[in-house]
Amino acid sequence: MSAVLAAQGLTRRFGDVTAVDDVTFEVRPGEVVGLLGANGAGKTTTIRMLLGLIAPTDGTAFLLGGVPDRETRRRLGYVPQGLGLYTELTVRQNVAFSAQAYAVPPAHLEGALAPVADRLVRDLPRGLQRQLAFVAALQHGPEVLVLDEPTSGVEPLASARLWDRIRAEAERGAGVLVTTHSMEEARQCDRLLLMAQARLVGSGSERYLVAGTRAVAVVTDTWTEAFDALTRAGELVTLDGRSVRVVDRDPAVVERVLAGAGVTARVTQVPATLEERMAALSA
């Protein structure tokens, strides 16, 4: 099946700054793909080119097989992080407005949204606003979905219910691209794309992306002393419960630092987390 979204050698320069540098990937129907990267890594500029909101300096963006334009954008569903709702309109008016824009009949309001159909969006709790944003973005049966941190701030059970909804869209045949900072959201995706410093530096499962980066776990009764000693030695140290982690470092080096400071500890090498991999990439 052909891709619903594709970047081929996609490049964008702003003056002397290269925001996106030779990025190639695709999102196929039925897939949920996560796009990860630090702020400034180039995620937003990539999305804006894929949606046809800005032109690439080099390379090509494909939306549903063609160059993105008004026609292909009608077959797209987009939920931005700010949700993109009209807060001074009612729930029903928001659904009607977006249905009209896509030339489809307005969706029937169900569940928790039904009793609040005539309330102003600004008066609703954030959780209900998010449900409404999904209804408004999905009612025209889009072939491609672009979601920006779709479950940020949502409690775990409600978040799982939203992922049900997203998965149902994928099973119906939509290709889904999720941009996120959350490792939990990353875990809900079939495949991840990792951007750093304007380039695509990895593509695959979480396990594949962290392969090659190791962390050292330091377990000790006196974690504060271990933490102090390693920080003073200039290591990239983080706290994990009451144990201390050092990213991308030989355990022997860590043992030497701790021994030098008189700290008794058990030092083991463990796989790095995705977050630690990203920190190592931009260090």
């Binding site: 059970l157 799982a160 959350s182 490792m183 939990e184 920080t231 419960g241 977050e275």
Partner: protein, 274 residues
Amino acid sequence: MTYGLESVTVRLGGTTALSDVSLDIPPGQVTAVVGGDGAGKSTLLRTLVGEVVVDAGVLRIPEPTGVGYLAAGAGSWKDLTVDQNVAFVGGSYGLSREAVADRGGRLLERAGLTAARGRLAGQLSGGMRTKLGYVLAMLHQPRLLVLDEPSTGVDPVSRVELWRLISETAADGAAVVLSTTYLDEAERTASVLLLSEGRGLLAGAPDELIAGMPGVITRVGSPTRPEYAWRRGAAFHEWWPDGRPTDGDGVEADLSDVSIVAELGRRVHAGSRS
């Protein structure tokens, strides 16, 4: 001493924002308050800094000058430079100019903001602004540091740096309490309180909470009882309260699973099944 709340209830404008909530915040470690939007996380933290008055219960907090606070999404003045922010906040705590220069300089360096000292706070990236807010909250060496969603909107790389700062503060002996919606982040704290609709649903060390989860969880392609199942990637996790699954392979629960189980358990208890 261990700071915290005992059986605290807060009513705000006719609704109960917190109901009989208790939490210990010991020095030298990081304590997390987790839950979704509207669960009561901010209200709880604001009782600790005196911004919200409690209707019942006991607060154990230091005198106001012993508390540092980073409010959600803010913490600095956009139209002032980084240095001006530090000078202004230091002055408001009554610190001498020398103390501000000395301690402020060291904190900015630890936060990686030395090169940004002349820039306007409003022009910093989200991660840098959060770190500046952190520096400002720490200027007067508080014994209790209260951080409201410090990592929301902060990218993963800045988040690692932020955690390094938070860890250092705890290692120096301060009691640190923070709220977060990221459960993987809560897993690295010493102790977690899970709030749901203003009530404490679970409390304890992440490992203990995971070990103490009732029943077992399996990974299944399609759930036998959808009301006990939730999404995990392309598959589902399903909870078997009696520990006797009829389908699927057992999986090791994480804090997210444990929170969902607690919420499901609460709903089953309350007689609602959605």
